[in-house]
């Protein structure tokens, strides 16, 4: 770096010298191979910088980002909403459904009015089960999309309830395999499936209300 002009070569390259300085530097360049070489190298560095390729992060950062987004956008349920979401849990745990069905209160549940096609399924089990399975599949898909809007505690309650309901459904289906014609078991299965639909609808409604 013995040349007084070497330190100005970047400014020259970037067109930032005043015209008098530029002229003087160009005069020097004409007679100094060292500075010409250095200038060529600096030009190559700039070209290299402009051709650097962007590379995606090695790990997918989206899951972590997404989790932190939903922290901000989550909402907390009131106690009564949590209780509402837990109704299925209360009813279904400990054989509650069987008792409810025996005393007839299960069929008078006003929330079932929304699903008239699911009522009295005993005569045509195949048809109502196909419709119910489709409704459940749609609601589960919707909930999968909406779940991130619910806070952790709500998601946990909903999942717990779904787990209990699914086990009840499985049990009823096993019993039906042994006794396919049982009106009682068919009604019980329909009732349980409707509980599941109700729970899914409720969870979706809560999530959508905050979207």
């Amino acid at each position: 770096m013995n040349h007084q002009w070497t330190d100005r070569l970047s400014e020259y390259l970037d067109g930032e010298l005043m015209s008098a300085e530029r002229d003087a530097l160009e005069t020097h360049l004409a007679g100094c191979a060292h500075c010409r070489d250095t200038l060529a190298e600096l030009r190559a560095v700039v070209a290299r910088a402009q051709s650097l390729e962007n590379r995606a992060p090695a790990a997918d950062l989206w899951p972590e980002i997404h989790a932190r987004l939903t922290v901000r956008r989550r909402f907390s349920l009131t106690v009564s909403q949590l209780l509402a979401a837990s109704i299925a849990l209360v009813v279904l745990s400990g054989g509650g459904v069987w008792l409810a069905l025996r005393d007839g209160s299960g069929t008078s549940d006003p929330t079932m009015a929304a699903f008239p096609q699911l009522v009295a399924p005993a005569g045509t089990p195949v048809a109502w089960r196909a419709r119910t399975d489709m409704a459940v599949a749609q609601l589960e898909e919707t909930l999968a999309q909406n779940e991130s809007r619910l806070d952790t505690a709500t998601v946990r309650v909903v999942r717990q309830n779904l787990g209990i309901i699914d086990r009840a459904i499985e049990k009823a289906q096993r019993a039906l395999q042994a006794d396919p014609g049982s009106a009682y078991l068919n009604l019980h299965l329909a009732q349980t499936m409707r509980r599941k639909i109700e729970l899914l609808r409720r969870a979706n409604a809560l999530a959508v209300a905050e979207s």
């Binding site: 070569l9 970047s10 560095v45 700039v46 910088a49 590379r55 950062l61 989206w62 932190r68 979207s211």
Partner: protein, 174 residues
């Protein structure tokens, strides 16, 4: 991804659609991560990239579309990086003061350094010189803007750029 698709996603994401925001992340993460990686130490790049997208999500409501979303996000990235730089406060020999910056900054023998590629050599520059170089030569900022962002005078930005370029000459080969 077609531009109009991304623009629609910007609007959707601003209204709170996380799926749309994920598409924006997929489209822009390489550029953001690369900028962060070049400006800061590599092990911070993932964290800071996450911070950038969290901030973008929070601030999307203020994006008015005067500039392209990519430009807006890029500017946000630089701001997050520079805020990080201030809050961390530890800068490795922030600016170059002689003609042997890499050796001084790393304490390594030249023979070792000659095996480094360009990006590695860039990463070993002192923070100040590296940030000036990335902002000017990689990202196209002008010295006046860089000086303002880094809190130095434009002359410092110019001389650090020159030192950085001089140091990087020997690492041009891939």
């Amino acid at each position: 991804m077609p531009r109009q698709v991304l623009e629609a996603d910007v609007a959707l994401a601003a209204s709170g659609d996380a799926d749309a925001f994920e598409r924006l992340y997929r489209a822009h993460s390489a550029r953001v991560h690369s900028l962060v990686r070049r400006m800061l130490d590599g092990d911070e790049a993932d964290d800071v990239t996450q911070d950038v997208f969290i901030r973008a999500w929070q601030k999307l409501g203020t994006f008015r579309g005067e500039s392209a979303f990519g430009t807006w996000l890029h500017r946000l990235t630089v701001n997050v990086v520079l805020a990080r730089r201030k809050s961390v406060g530890v800068e490795r020999g922030r600016f170059i003061t002689d003609d042997q910056p890499l050796e001084r900054a790393t304490g390594r023998r030249e023979t070792v350094e000659l095996s480094m590629d360009f990006e590695e050599a860039l990463a070993r520059l002192p923070d100040g010189a590296r940030q000036v170089f990335v902002l000017h030569d990689v990202e196209g900022y002008r010295h006046e803007e860089i000086a303002r962002m880094l809190g130095v005078v434009p002359g410092t930005s110019k001389s650090q750029l020159h030192h950085a370029r001089m140091a990087l000459r020997r690492y041009l080969d891939r």
